[in-house]
């Protein structure tokens, strides 16, 4: 038996038909797994302190990309917001909905003149202040849960609906 025969026996076995029958389910399962994690439940690695204490820097979360196919983002949802594509995402919490008058006053977020109850905040910063603005018909106001830094150092603002590509799944242990 030559080397080629050995290689053939290792690669496809002595009974190629049986090998094929065994391989097909493995290939199909692999394909389904890849498609599932690419288009349905995308793994996301959190980088940076913006969502502390809800999500720690370096933790892995899953983005449900089908969450907003039939419904719109709700207040309190933690969403993935795309830049020019899907390779890098912003992960923020939705606090303002389209058409609402929103803004920060003395560290609290106000919606239509009323303070928003935000039990998930551990480190609110009393100095956060912004001019009230009315969100457009397709705009959602998003901000991270860690507000211990000055407002200028925390990336937050109105996200266009087209940029919101999914909802982060909250698992046991997340706030």
């Amino acid at each position: 038996m030559g080397i080629l025969d050995w290689a053939r026996a290792i690669a496809i076995g002595r009974r190629p038909k049986r090998t094929l029958v065994r391989l097909v389910p493995v290939i199909v399962l692999g394909l389904i797994t890849v498609l599932f994690f690419r288009f349905v439940l995308t793994p996301v690695r959190i980088t940076g302190p913006s969502m502390i204490p809800t999500f720690q820097d370096g933790s892995i979360k899953f983005l449900n990309r089908l969450a907003y196919l039939r419904s719109e983002p709700k207040r309190g949802d933690i969403v993935g917001i795309r830049y020019s594509g899907n390779h890098v995402l912003l992960v923020k919490r939705v606090v303002g909905l389209p058409g609402e008058l929103v803004g920060f006053q003395y560290g609290r977020f106000y919606v239509n003149g009323k303070p928003l109850h935000e039990p998930y905040l551990n480190y609110p910063c009393a100095k956060w202040h912004s001019e009230p603005k009315t969100l457009g018909p397709n705009e959602y106001y998003v901000v991270g849960d860690n507000r211990s830094m000055p407002i200028d150092f925390h990336y937050q603002g109105a996200a266009d609906r087209r940029r919101i590509i999914g909802k982060i799944l909250l698992l046991h242990g997340d706030s």
């Binding site: 980088t47 940076g48 830049y83 020019s84 390779h87 890098v88 923020k92 705009e139 000055p150 937050q156």
Partner: protein, 166 residues
């Protein structure tokens, strides 16, 4: 069996021909993509990089830029900064190692929109950069305007995009 071998050979040759065609006659999108990837490579530098290597990279970078290239940086927490010429931009790139201990930049998710005359293009992309010694990544959406000048795609304008509106 021989017929099957011939068909496979023919398909392989067709594939090779197509690949060679794209190598020798790339479409404008591919040319732009390659140029921007090259820009990211040339803008990157390692902590111990020597001056000669740096000067060479910046000169090659200059060949990707129009003489009157404009760069407008408008990010939260800082004042708007503008650069108004290739010379100014190259000087800023040359000075960068004094302020950062290495830089690794890459451009992701390029969306290229060619003008109707195919002599200009707008590229929306995401800059992902890591500064040596810092744990946080820099992520910024950018808009590049490019023009075909003397048969060469040159960058004429770079501006930051506000992914979230303040």
């Amino acid at each position: 069996m021989k017929k099957l071998s011939n068909i496979i050979l023919l398909l392989a040759l067709a594939g090779l021909g197509y690949w060679l065609w794209t190598v020798f006659f790339p479409n404008p999108q591919q040319v732009i993509r390659n140029r921007l990837n090259k820009l990211a490579r040339l803008a990157s530098f390692s902590p111990g990089e020597g001056n000669i290597s740096r000067i060479s990279k910046i000169q090659r970078m200059g060949r990707l830029l129009a003489e009157d290239v404009q760069v407008i940086i408008d990010v939260p927490g800082t004042e708007i900064q503008t650069i108004k010429s290739r010379q100014e931009l190259m000087q800023a790139a040359m000075a960068a190692p004094r302020f950062a201990n290495g830089l690794k930049a890459e451009f992701l998710d390029m969306n290229i929109e060619l003008g109707s005359d195919t002599q200009s293009a707008i590229v929306d992309l995401t800059l992902k950069a890591k500064i040596g010694g810092e744990s946080d990544l820099i992520v910024q959406e950018l808009k590049f305007t490019m023009k075909k000048i003397n048969n060469d795609w040159l960058i004429t304008r770079v501006e930051t995009v506000k992914t979230l509106k303040p």
